[in-house]
Symmetry: C2
Subunit: 250 residues, 2 copies
């Protein structure tokens, strides 16, 4: 491309894109993975939280901003997993029609690129907040997600795939559980993410052998069966192991 062409392009802004970000915010409750979705004003249409990235911020900062706005949480496990720039990413006319009461159809760019992040949060600590274009923000069971706006079903699908790989590389379980948790809870989390049953004896051995868990004296009370022990993630041990290099998970 020649200097003049570049200048012309800049003039026409042809090479600029609408750059947005979408967050797949995941929590874990009652043995199921949950994802936080927003319902748009005056419709029954749902989508992922997200929005434009401002010129003044890095894309990571934008992701943290959106997370903070929707969940109230600051320190969150957040990871970019894919950038979506198909052409077209979704049926533009359909979206224009569905959301015309909210957004002038003119505003939709032909090609919108969105950067996908997933976040892992402690379900109990989140207070879901809708944004300016939406009226409802709530958790959905990952297995009961409706048809979403844009290509958001697809984005969630890829986020879950990325998570299945990540679970082998990091103790991500600990981001999704409260500070104290039981072994069966942790196992159920792994089973949900990996989408397969695990043997409790082998799971216990494996997890314990990582040496990054502390068993407390306490047990969970109020369950109508043998009370399970509570465990805590031992962050210091984890950091130490990481430095030594040797840490792989399931």
């Amino acid at each position: 491309m020649h200097k003049n062409e570049l200048m012309e392009q800049r003039e026409s802004k042809d090479y600029l894109s609408q750059l947005t970000l979408d967050c797949v915010i995941l929590g874990f409750n009652e043995g199921e993975l949950k994802v936080l979705l927003l319902r748009w004003k005056e419709t029954q249409e749902w989508s992922l939280p997200g929005g434009p990235i401002l010129q003044s911020e890095s894309i990571d900062a934008a992701a943290y901003r959106i997370l903070k706005e929707r969940t109230g949480l600051n320190d969150i496990f957040l990871k970019q997993f894919h950038t979506f720039g198909e052409q077209p990413r979704y049926n533009l006319a359909e979206i224009q029609e569905k959301l015309k009461h909210l957004i002038d159809p003119e505003i939709w760019y032909k090609r919108a690129v969105t950067i996908g992040y997933y976040a892992l949060v402690d379900y109990a600590k989140v207070s879901p907040q809708p944004d300016e274009l939406t009226v409802e923000c709530k958790w959905w069971d990952i297995k009961e997600i409706p048809q979403l706006l844009f290509d958001h079903n697809h984005i969630i699908q890829l986020a879950l795939q990325a998570l299945q790989i990540e679970i082998n590389l990091q103790p991500i379980g600990y981001n999704l559980l409260p500070e104290k948790f039981t072994m069966p809870e942790l196992q159920r989390l792994y089973e949900t993410i990996l989408d397969r049953k695990l043997d409790p004896r082998n799971f216990y051995k494996k997890i314990i052998s990582l040496g990054i868990l502390t068993r407390l004296k306490e047990r969970r009370k109020g369950v109508s069966h043998k009370a399970p022990y509570l465990y805590k993630f031992d962050k210091a041990a984890y950091e130490a192991k990481l430095k030594e290099g040797g840490l792989s998970f399931l």
Copy 2:
């Protein structure tokens, strides 16, 4: 964000970004990983191939376009690995100074986002072509890369990390070698990517046990030592194994 704000934003184009793409094109020659770099006109400055993504194309299509332009190749293993949107990504003033003879400093946007792809190609099949802003396109040994423009050293670093993970999930070796190759060549490729020595007997066992390699009757000739067998990647067997689900690599 309210409708009016969105309209205002659109007017000012504040939420639009310069969206570019950079390709880490990797080849393998003489036992070393090579990366294709471009030297800019009238300077000694090098960078990765890349450029703006056009409004009319998907980001994957843009990556294939750039690859085709720089290498002449069509069918290429190409993978998006990360999107870079730090703020700032690099020292803008420095870049403006270095490239002012080519590009009006005005043209540089404050925040540029680039999508990183890596490509794996057969070194021998590539005929490197510079683009409009560059005069030289050539392979560099991965271990001898100079200080590059922008944040391109960083981008290469992350591409190599992504490749180290990918090598466990796919037989990517075959994209980097010619159709026929020897076992020691394949081993050296793995050693280079993983950056560690492998035992030849264990490597042989492991690779053969995947069952996706065919040993030919032929041997490589003209070497002043025992002539090694040639192997071919058995694509049919690979596809079959993939379907059955069970395929993991090193």
